[in-house]
């Protein structure tokens, strides 16, 4: 066989392995890229041909996901997690250090094609950062000695399998356990309960439990299950949303790592209750390191009769679970975008209504729940709704897993009954000098010390679990600017106010942060933010201005400090405009800049 036919042969084999099914497109592209390091136009056309779909559709998917590359990429693809918590731990210095060691520029592939170093959105390792991914696998606790070793391994072109395994070690850091993490669960007990008592009785327990969507939206889980169960349709689906993309959240990673059986049991239970025979886990690409262990758990469950054609020997109880890997798209955490992605498309949120409970995966009735919600449901089936509802507040029953990171002594996972105060959490994790908290991630809310007596529950501070602490040493605006960049990167581009608004907001925040803004710019940010909150198509765009709007309210002094005294400053920045000339002439000396401060601030992206 001619050497040039190798990629074609690879594509053909991979497509066949996925059954030639277009809904597997994203999985196929991931596998193809694993073999060929990037997706060339010829490769994409080949995939389209093999799947009998239009080349534009395949290219559209390839261009949408951050972890799919349509330009050549190094055999070692290193991506530094660039959440604000990674920055607090000094990731920028490490990024530039590694680039220097490897002789490569950020975001560019080295001439010999061996390595690329770039950045990516939060990889969910905030309690053990600075973190990165190498060819999609998580690296934790980076420091200079470790990077020295990594540079040697890359330059020696040592296969990843031979890298020291401690580089890839991900610890769970469970600091506080309550009813979900603390009590033993016997595999199969929830499934025995549903077989013994029937789906209706389990639904009654679910209603009694008051369980709400633990991804943060807080929709009543029982209502979702009932709606799907009652929806007309022969084929129904259960989808577990493990696309934990909210920066600062990592509790689903811990559940999938340490409590996978509990989650799978919750999904299987849901399948029995709504009448579905197929479940999917949509696992974020950043957690691909979990895939082998999750597959092993599924296989073991099939072997012991907890999954498959006749669960617990009952031929009417068939259910199986398939795992799909994401590829770097925060928007896919939105349930309808997730379903689109699961169908092999680019992840643009659907128009709703109709909702997934009636028109979900392949337009069939589908329950999409968060990882933690399925885990709680399995426990409720065994222990009862009243038991679960004995914890929490009037409107928020049970417990919540919080992912603590940032400026605290003991970052990690904390399980609390709903209603716990922010102050109590801060005391427990050793955050003695907190200036403010980013609750529920950039899409959530920024609160200052004045609000530390607020309670974590749907009535007050709703959260999916992210809890990032900023001490008094920090500049709040570093966080705001980091989040503004995050939303630009993650906007899907479908609707105008998010596609354009996120960029406009980032530019205004940057102008302020670098000391070029005036009161006029503050008002501009407010107006723009208010438009985005109401006008955007989905939650991503609607929440994107939150860090700006919240910080304007909670930390006005952080903005005031940077104000120019003039009433108006033009957006045109003469010094920035000189950048091209500097690059052409190779000047980086202080005289090539208009102001000294630009040198310092210019280091920020």
């Amino acid at each position: 066989m001619a050497e040039s036919d190798l990629p074609a042969q690879t594509v053909c084999e991979i497509v066949q392995r996925h059954g030639g099914t277009p809904t597997r497109l994203l999985q196929i592209l991931r596998d193809v890229q694993d073999h060929l390091t990037w997706l060339s136009p010829e490769t994409l056309d080949r995939v389209a041909e093999e799947l009998h779909i239009s080349p534009a559709k395949v290219r559209g998917v390839a261009e949408f996901y951050s972890f799919l590359y349509t330009a050549p990429r190094g055999s070692y693809d290193l991506l530094f997690s660039d959440n604000i918590t990674d920055r607090m731990l000094g990731n920028r210095e490490l990024l530039h250090y590694l680039c220097e060691r490897l002789g490569v520029e950020v975001g560019k592939t080295r001439v010999d094609g061996v390595v690329t170093v770039g950045t990516t959105s939060c990889t969910g390792m905030c309690d053990q950062g600075p973190a990165a991914l190498v060819n999609g696998y998580a690296l934790t606790r980076l420091d200079k000695p470790r990077l020295n070793r990594i540079a040697e391994l890359v330059n020696g072109q040592i296969p990843l399998a031979q890298w020291p395994c401690e580089f890839f070690e991900v610890i769970s850091n469970i600091r506080r356990a309550d009813i979900l993490l603390g009590r033993h669960f016997a595999d199969g007990s929830a499934l025995r309960a549903v077989l013994k008592r029937g789906p209706e009785a389990i639904l009654e327990e679910m209603v009694k439990s008051g369980l709400r969507g633990q991804g943060g939206a807080g929709f009543k889980s029982a209502a979702k299950w009932i709606s799907c169960r009652n929806a007309p349709g022969e084929v129904k689906y259960v989808v577990c949303n493990a696309d934990e993309g909210e920066p600062g959240t990592f509790k689903d990673r811990v559940l999938m790592q340490d409590f996978a059986d509990l989650v799978f049991e919750g999904m299987t239970l849901c399948g029995r209750v709504i009448g579905a025979r197929q479940g999917f886990v949509y696992l974020r690409g950043e957690y691909r390191y979990l895939l082998p262990s999750l597959q092993a758990h599924l296989q073991r469950r099939r072997e012991v009769g907890l999954l498959g054609k006749a669960i617990l020997g009952d031929p009417t109880f068939g259910f199986d679970i398939d795992i799909h890997l994401g590829a770097g798209a925060y928007v896919c955490g939105e349930e309808s975008a997730l379903i689109e992605s699961l169908e092999g498309k680019h992840g643009v949120p659907r128009i709703r209504p109709p909702f997934p409970t009636t028109h979900g995966y392949l337009n069939q009735p589908t329950v999409v729940n968060n990882v933690e919600t399925f885990a709680a449901a399995a426990k409720i089936a065994v222990e009862g709704g009243a038991w679960f509802a004995s914890r929490g507040t009037a409107e928020s029953k049970g417990t919540k897993l919080l992912s603590l990171s940032g400026d605290c002594e003991r970052p990690g996972i904390y399980e609390y009954p709903f209603g716990v105060t922010v102050r109590r959490v801060l005391e427990d994790c050793g955050a003695l000098d907190a200036q403010g908290i980013q609750m529920a991630g950039p899409a959530g809310h920024m609160i200052s010390a004045r609000q530390f007596d607020r309670r974590i529950c749907f009535e007050d501070l709703a959260t999916g679990g992210s809890f990032m602490v900023f001490s008094h040493r920090r500049d709040i605006l570093d966080g705001v600017r980091n989040f503004a960049h995050f939303f630009v990167h993650e906007s899907c581009g479908f609707c105008t106010p998010c596609r354009v608004g996120t960029s406009l907001l980032r530019d205004l925040v940057t102008k302020m942060h670098t000391g070029h803004g005036t009161r006029y710019d503050l008002e501009e940010m407010r107006k723009l933010g208010r438009i985005m909150q109401v006008a955007c198509h989905c939650g991503l765009g609607q929440t994107a201005p939150n860090p700006v709007l919240d910080s304007l309210e909670q930390f006005p002094e952080a903005w005031e400090r940077r104000l120019r005294s003039t009433a108006f400053e033009p957006a045109f920045d003469l010094d920035a405009a000189l950048e091209q000339a500097r690059q052409l002439t190779g000047r980086s000396d202080p005289d090539a800049y208009l102001r000294e401060e630009e040198l310092i601030l210019g280091a920020m992206p």
Partner: protein, 246 residues
Amino acid sequence: MSADRSFTLDGRRVPFQDGQTIMAAALAAGVYIPHLCFNPEFAPHGSCRVCLVKVNGRVQAACTTPAAVGQAVQNETGELREIRRGILQMLFVEGNHVCPACEKSGACQLQAVAYYVGMLAPHYTHFYPRRPVDASHPEAVIDFNRCILCELCVRASRDVDGKNIFAVQGRGIQAHLVVNTPSGKLGATDFSVTDKAAQVCPTGAILTKHRGYEIPIGQRLYDRKPISVVGDVATLAESKGGRRHE
């Protein structure tokens, strides 16, 4: 009883049929709600967000929100006008829209809606993106600088012409219209100026070659009356200054 199936739009009673959106019902009742990615001949898309209305106090897109009995819908309010104006301004700074030099000026839906919502300047900082012009086709030219990603050409070519010539690729602010050929050139496709896709563009992104600037200033489609009275350029016959081929 069909007489009961109505909602109010700025206080006026608007009847609707099952399955109709607020936009469709308003259109049938002769009430104008400004829009760009909506075209009554196609399934709603909901991406431009210009048709935002307030439904029982909540801002929603009129083109995708099903009409329901008893809804109180607000359309012409100062608040909505300001939001719509903001969205129009975003569209203007995102691309490169040089109205004075554009062949579509005066008969451009984007420009007409901008005037309708009171936009007199782009307000935001221009992005000045570098976008190409594709003149490879003998009969038509695509100026990507003017594309607002409404996907009407994508839908028309796929659903009506059966040619699937256009697609949108890329994510976020990188999203862009592409021509579905290996070279990316329109000249390599079987695109024709009689295609539906050639008639639906609400801006001057897809233009017919060999003719231009035919109608003098003062007599162009939206020169004397606003779009709310004249209607969309894409839905009007050519003889009335529109783009629909007879």
